[in-house]
């Protein structure tokens, strides 16, 4: 890429429930092999899952930092119980690492300290970004729903703030108090038996006409399609995006990171990169509709980028 400015790669938190060892080994490999500069981690979707990963967080953080990665800890996306409130408060009070706020409680508690804003906080315009920056946010991962023309306007309005774009992975589309994942298996949220752990890449939900549509991930509903912004990276760099986020799927994320790195460095064209990505994440359907101001599920092929990307 010819720009003076090349965005950094950032790995978002694992949204799925992976068992402790799988989760730990995933991050060990990221630490050892993945060309990412930033890693955000920690349970974000469901507080009931926290005990799976908590025993391993210390060793994972240590390994990542030893490998030179900058580590940020993610907060819960939805906080309703006293126990969850306490957890967010403790995390913000005790953390030696920067924190990524994913709900309003974290936003309130963290004011005055440097922090990140996650993609689950509604930042749709520069005025909102400015409010958050004034309270100490120094990196904002924009919601996956934002089209490029919004991204450009927000970034241009706050040139000194670091912005991040969700560029790979199934999109978090919704979150509920009710657990559709447990319900689909005849259970309820309160007695879920951690059934969502059975699907480490989400439970597919199809329409009655058998169209692939969404996947369930506990209380979170995600897109079936996997966002792939590769043909768009150049425009994002030019717009001044500081970080490109890869959201972990149950596939070889080291390979995914290598592909994105190669495209960012100008060592691989995006056509080849997309073809390789299909091998790395077999069976995945790609989408980039939100970026192009279409339905999120849409895939706008490269030839049309010039017309739509800036639209």
């Amino acid at each position: 890429m010819t720009n003076a400015h090349t965005p950094a790669l950032s790995l978002g938190p694992v949204y799925y429930l992976w068992d402790g060892p799988k989760w730990r080994d995933f991050y060990f490999r990221i630490a050892d092999e993945a060309p990412v500069e930033h890693v955000t981690l920690g349970e974000t979707v469901c507080s009931k899952r926290q005990h799976f990963t908590e025993p391993h967080i210390a060793e994972v953080v240590e390994r990542l930092e030893a490998a030179g990665k900058k580590v940020t800890l993610s907060t819960l996306a939805m906080v309703t119980l006293e126990r969850e409130s306490r957890h967010v408060r403790d995390l913000i009070r005790d953390s030696a690492h920067p924190v990524e706020a994913n709900d309003l409680s974290a936003l309130g508690l963290i004011a005055g300290r440097a922090h990140s804003i996650g993609p689950l906080v509604n930042v749709y315009n520069a005025a909102t970004a400015r409010v958050l920056a004034a309270r100490g946010a120094n990196n904002i991962c924009l919601p996956p729903e934002l089209p490029m023309n919004s991204i450009e306007k927000i970034v241009a309005s706050l040139p000194d703030l670091s912005f991040e774009v969700f560029a790979f992975g199934r999109m978090p589309l919704a979150i509920s108090a009710r657990c559709a994942h447990a319900r689909s298996k005849g259970l309820t949220k309160d007695n879920c038996q951690f059934i969502c752990g059975e699907e480490p890449d989400g439970l597919p939900l199809r329409t009655l006409d058998r169209q692939s549509f969404l996947v369930l991930n506990g209380v979170q509903t995600m897109s079936n399609s996997c966002v792939v912004l590769l043909g768009e990276l150049q425009a994002l760099s030019a717009a001044g995006i500081a970080r490109v986020r890869l959201s972990p799927q149950d596939c070889d994320m080291v390979a995914v990171a290598a592909i994105y790195r190669a495209v960012l460095d100008g060592a691989m064209d995006d056509g080849e990169a997309i073809a390789r990505l299909s091998d790395v994440y077999p069976g995945a359907v790609f989408s980039n509709g939100f970026y192009h101001q279409q339905e999120g599920a849409a895939w706008i092929a490269r030839g049309r980028n010039a017309a739509l990307g800036q639209g």
Partner: protein, 325 residues
């Protein structure tokens, strides 16, 4: 407890006032509110007349500006706020931090209510909104139990309003891009969930098929009560089974919890339904008004007739009851 009632048109507004609303909420005819449907909502002169009508009868008017400002088009929202204040809105119902900051800064005396779309679901979140923007009331997301609400009201320096009757969002409000994933129109930015422009009803023999964008949302047998073509109330296939993955087509009805909500310290009950007709508004408002002052034993009978007008012709107490999860 106050009764906060919806109005999508000036006619519905008058019906709500006449039927006993303590406050009526409504929005402008554009993307600045979350019921941006064709033929619905208020022009500036209509809002002015409506506020006048309400005020003469001691009823308040809340103006919902509860979508998120699209980058580059913020002026639309700022002007809507300016006009709502100038026309005498008793409160603005806001979701976007940028817009809250604008209103708090420019109109420090204007009552600011936090929309359900902001998803303020706990004390620290609400404390943040009170401190940062001077919020006076928060409309709680429909993800809390009555017990959660009771605990919350004791912890915060802010009035609490909760949804009592009408459409039920299954997902945390303001945090759902399902509709926009299927249609490209965003509830948060464009103010419309399951936009009519992308809805199709198709007959397949005896079956009525509802579609949103390219996706089949439901198939209704000949005598089956139907619902809106919203994704979260659709029927889907998971593995080898199919059914309502998120929620049946039902409406929210917490009439049975009125006393518990009052004891929990709730200041106001809100009726959903700015997109419904004036006949519905009149019926629901007057029934709930009666229910509020009735003996608990009489309430069910008062609201039973409302169920026939509800989505799927059935109701649920939703997240207010822990078992719903």
């Amino acid at each position: 407890m106050e009764l906060i009632c919806p109005a999508g048109t000036p006619s519905a507004f008058r019906e709500a006032v006449d039927a006993g609303a303590d406050a009526v909420y409504c929005g402008f005819r554009d993307e600045t509110n979350a019921r941006n449907f064709p033929g619905l909502n208020f022009s500036r002169p209509e809002l002015k007349d409506s506020i006048g009508y309400a005020r003469k009868r001691g009823v308040q008017t809340f103006v919902a500006l509860n979508t998120f400002m699209r980058a580059g088009h913020e002026q639309l929202w700022y002007e809507a706020a300016d006009d709502a204040v100038a026309l005498g809105a008793d409160a603005l119902i806001l979701a976007d931090f940028g817009l809250m900051a604008y209103v708090a800064d420019k109109y420090p005396d204007q009552r600011l209510h936090v929309s359900v779309q902001a998803s303020a679901s706990n004390r620290d979140a609400i404390q943040f909104l009170v401190e940062a923007f001077g919020a006076k009331r928060v409309v709680l997301p429909r993800i809390l139990t009555v017990q959660d609400i009771a605990r919350l009201t004791r912890q915060i320096a802010c009035e609490v309003e909760v949804f009592a009757f009408g459409g039920l969002c299954v997902m945390a409000e303001g945090r759902c891009s399902l509709s926009s994933y299927a249609t490209g129109k965003s509830p948060n930015m464009n103010g419309v969930c399951s936009p009519a422009s992308h809805v199709k009803y198709r007959r397949d023999g005896d079956t009525m098929v509802s579609e949103l964008g390219a996706y089949t949302i439901n198939r209704f047998g000949p005598d089956e009560a139907s619902g809106y073509p919203t994704l979260c109330k659709g029927r889907f296939e998971i593995g080898e089974t199919h059914g309502y993955a998120f929620e049946d087509p039902v409406s929210l009805d917490v009439v049975d919890h009125i006393d518990a909500l009052r004891e929990a310290g709730v200041s106001a009950l809100k009726i959903e339904g700015r997109q419904r007709g004036k006949a519905y508004v009149a019926e629901v408002v007057s029934s709930l008004k009666k229910a509020l002052s009735a003996e608990p034993a009489e309430r069910s009978a008062l609201v039973a007739r409302l169920r026939a007008m509800s989505e799927g012709q059935r109701t649920t107490s939703g997240a207010y009851d822990k078992r719903w999860r």
